[in-house]
Amino acid sequence: MGAEVLSVSVDSVFVHKVWNDNELSKMLGHDIPFMMCSDQDGSIGKAYGIYDEDSGVETRGRFIIDPDGIVQGFEVLTPPVGRNVSESLRQLQAFQLVRATGGAEVTPSGWKPGKQTLKPGIDLVSNVWKVWKVEQAFED
């Protein structure tokens, strides 16, 4: 998918190194492949609106940024609940498809790679029900 992943927390790069070396690399069997960024003063987190002043840490904010530097989507969770990585990848693939088609194709609810897209146009107005069924939103 060719995306660059950046992780960010308020930890120093030294702590990132130790976490990678002593725990994460053992989980993975190799080094963390992406850049682990340090935001010790929380300024990046503040700019993205996900820094929690009360606890002094960053919440689980995830932003998808396109090749022009435009935010296409984001999700923010409180610390105790982890993310669903495959949902992030699904969204990335959907945004990539829309960009590749110049918006000629769009992805309905529940879309996954290989599934039906919709082609907006005058003929589709009031006719989505003919080409797309609600059950498709719930398909695996």
């Binding site: 060719g2 995306a3 660059e4 992943v5 950046l6 992780s7 960010v8 927390s9 308020v10 930890d11 120093s12 790069v13 702590v15 990132h16 190194k17 976490w19 990678n20 725990e23 080094d31 963390i32 492949p33 992406f34 850049m35 682990m36 960024c37 340090s38 935001d39 010790q40 003063d41 300024s43 990046i44 987190g45 503040k46 700019a47 993205y48 609106g49 606890s55 840490v57 960053e58 919440t59 689980r60 904010g61 995830r62 932003f63 998808i64 940024i65 090749p67 530097g69 435009i70 935010v71 296409q72 989507g73 984001f74 610390p79 105790p80 609940v81 993310r83 990335l92 945004f95 990539q96």
Partner: protein, 81 residues
């Protein structure tokens, strides 16, 4: 592309906000401009330090123009989730 740097003993630089040094002046309460992130709008640029595959690097978001970027914040290293 991200440039490697050699860590020294100095404290990593912390980007300070503007501090009013003139104590005689009326205290200025700076309204921090809090613009919400919005989809379809530019992502705030930043530069920072990173650990990447055995090396320390300087990285700026703007260096990644032309690529899709997934930017993930999390509460802290060694937290459990």
């Amino acid at each position: 592309m991200p440039e490697e740097f050699k860590p020294g003993c100095e404290r990593p630089p912390i980007k300070k906000m503007n501090v009013e040094t003139d104590i005689a002046a009326e205290p200025v309460v700076k309204e921090e401009k809090k613009s919400m992130i919005r989809v379809g709008k530019p992502a705030p640029d930043f530069t920072t330090r990173a650990f990447h595959q055995g090396k320390f690097k300087n990285i700026g978001l703007s260096e990644l123009k032309g690529k899709w970027v997934i930017l993930c914040f999390y509460p802290g290293d060694f937290t459990f989730v």
